[in-house]
Structure formats: C-alpha cells, structure tokens
Amino acid sequence: MNAAVTPPRRHPAGLTAALFRYVLRLGDTSLVLGQRLGEWVGHAPALEEDLGLANLALDLIGQARLFLTYAGELEGRGRDEDALAYGRDAPQFANLALAEQPNGDFGSTIVRQVLLDAWQLEIYEGLASSTDTRLAAIAAKALKETRYHYRFSSGWLVRLGDGTDESHRRAQQGLESLWRFTGELFAADEVEAEISAAGIAPRLESQGQRWSARIDEVLDEATLARPAHQPYAWHGKRGVHTEHLGHLLTEMQHVSRSYPGARW
C-alpha cells in the first residue's frame, strides 16, 4: 500500500543523514526487542502471558516495519524494510543494547520490558507532535499500543516484586543486571542533538528525567530497590553491541541469508 497521506517534509541533506540514523535506532530497537519477546512463544509461564508477550512482539515488529521503511527512504539507496532487517550485520544495527539482552527468566524479561516500555512512552509522546509528519504519525499510532504494553509490564513488575520472596529476589536480580544498559537511553549524542535542535524531537535529557521519575514510582510500588550503581554508557545505538546481538541476528536472518531472494 502506498504510505503517507501527507508528503514528508523535505529536510536539508545533512539533517536527512542524521534523521536516517535516528529513525534506524528507533526501528532497530523495536525489531530486536520484538524478536527477543518472540522467543517466549511456547515457553511462557502461562498461556495468558504467552499470548501477551507474543502480542507485544507483534506490535513491536509492526513499529519496526514502519520505521525501517522510512529509514530506507531517507537513506535513498533503495533499501527496504527487509533489506535493512535481514541484510545487515551486528555493527550496523543501531538498537539500544538493553533491547538485545537475553530473556533470562520471566522476571528479567519483565524488568527489561518495563525499562524499555517507559522509554518508548517518553520518546513516542515527544514525537507524536513532531514537525516531521511521517514520524509523528508513526509515533502517535505506536503510543496507543505502548500504553497497554506498559500496563502489562508494570503490572507484572509489581506482582513479582511485591509477590513471594523468590519472585522478589528474581525481579531485583534482573534489575541489577540490566540497569547498566540504561545509561544510553537518554544520553544524547550528535545524532540526537541534531534532531532535537531541528525541532523534530524533544531534548532527550528532559525526557530522561520523566522516565526516571516513572521508574522510581513503579519500583517503589513493586518494593524493588533502584540499583545503587551508576549505569555505564553502552553504545548500542552507535553499533557497539554486546555479543548477544550476533546470536539473535544469526537466528533472525537465517532463512534470508541461506536462501537469498527467496519468495513465498
């Protein structure tokens, strides 16, 4: 289907290059997180959670398709969503490193989901009124879905944290091991600085304060302790990944790499 009702606003060439990288980060984060959640299908603790996690995965892959399609158009080298998803190696992926972290137990998965759902809430709320009409439309749509994602993940975090000794211990453990990857969520580099200076997205730092307050609130309700250690700046969005992404991509890209150009 032809996309876009309103013709995309034309940006100067330098800005288009930054916007390509920015949109790629959003798309890759949704794609990689969606792929991770898909690994739970058939393995979740209960049928309802199996369906829930699969629904989240599906929504995230839907977001990724729109972002990657737009990124490909901005890049202008003829790469579509599939070429970007299946034709790049780990160092070319620009997702947040948090998204690629292994599922671990259900508690770890929920912690990762709360941290990233809350991140997407801030990012999409900011982008919903973007001067870039294409991004604004995708973000406004994704925001509606992210709201119930956060309801799901934060509800479970409270249930686990404020549950049994064992569920509390596991949720806290997941939080301790994943917290270090939150440093890059709201640390702007030159790409995000350029995007916010151009008025396309709000400043990342101000959004980070709201994220932090939201996380404090849910951790408090879940009787979990915010880790004392400072998160270090990991640079998944700059293509520096943990080893886990390579394994994820090997599986995700297997068919398209084994049978290049294969069609249904």
Binding site: N2, L58, R65, A137
Partner: protein, 152 residues
C-alpha cells in the same frame, strides 16, 4: 465523482469482510478513511490499520484491491493512512451489534458485559487475546470465557 458513484464504491467496500472476524465489514470497523477522486483522475481509497502489525491488514488490502479491480477501478490508488490513529470508537453501531451477536463484547469503556448471558459480572483474564484487537474475559455468572474488543 458523482454522488451515485461514490455511494456505489462505499457499498462495494461495505461487502468486504474483516478476514479474522468475518461478521463485520471493514466499514463496520471504521478503517476506510476516504473514497475520493483526486486531481490525477484516479480513485483514491484511504485505509487505516487497526493495530500496526495486525496480520489482517495485508489481507484487507488484497480484498479491497480485488473488489475495486472487479468493479472497473483497476487504477485506483490504495493508501495507508496512519494519522489520526485508528480508535475503537470508530467501530460503528452496526459493527458493535454484529460483534455482540457473534459472541465478542464490543469495545466499551463501561464494565464489559457477557455477550452470551448479558451479565455485567465479568472479569478480565488477560488484556491479550487471540488477535491484537481482542482481550480475554470470563463471565462470573454463566462462567463462559469470551473475547472482548479492546478500547484503544
């Protein structure tokens, strides 16, 4: 475009069922945003997805394409409209009635009523159901499980 032609196209689209809940049409769901002839002389039809990754979206596009082709509008442009995002408020009254008759509680901000026995004593089992647009409920009166259309 003449009023008669426009009405005819809306009628044609009203016969395209939702592939996953075939008792409702794509018009009942409120996902056809416009039908109009534009300056290029072609017919333009705007369709919005209910959920970003709803697998039915592609099947709907193919069904609408087929319908328009057969009606002599092979050059019609199908456009994906994202903004404003679809809301369950756009499900028509007829659509709500058909959903309820089919055993799916229509989208409602009020407590969800059981589509089988009508009781308001229901509980949500999970916010996620068999398709992106539905949640999973259970009736506390007749004890039957049922699907409810999510409010979004």
């Amino acid at each position: 475009m003449s009023g008669g032609e426009e009405a005819r196209i809306w009628r044609l689209l009203g016969a395209v069922p939702d592939p996953e809940i075939p008792v409702v049409s794509i018009l009942d769901l409120g996902i056809v945003r416009y039908v109009r002839r534009e300056a290029d002389g072609r017919l333009h039809v705007g369709i919005t997805p209910t959920y970003l990754a709803c697998p039915a979206t592609e099947a709907i596009r193919i069904a609408v394409r087929d319908t328009l082709d057969q009606a002599g509008y092979a050059d019609a442009a199908l456009e994906a409209v994202l903004s404003p995002p679809w809301s369950s408020d756009w499900v028509t009254e007829a659509g709500q009635r058909k959903l309820a008759a089919f055993g799916i509680a229509p989208p409602s901000p009020q407590p969800v009523c059981c589509p089988r026995c009508g009781s308001g004593a229901t509980e949500r089992v999970s916010e996620f159901g068999s398709t992106p647009c539905k949640a999973h409920y259970r009736c506390s009166a007749c004890l039957e499980p049922f699907d409810a259309f999510k409010c979004i």
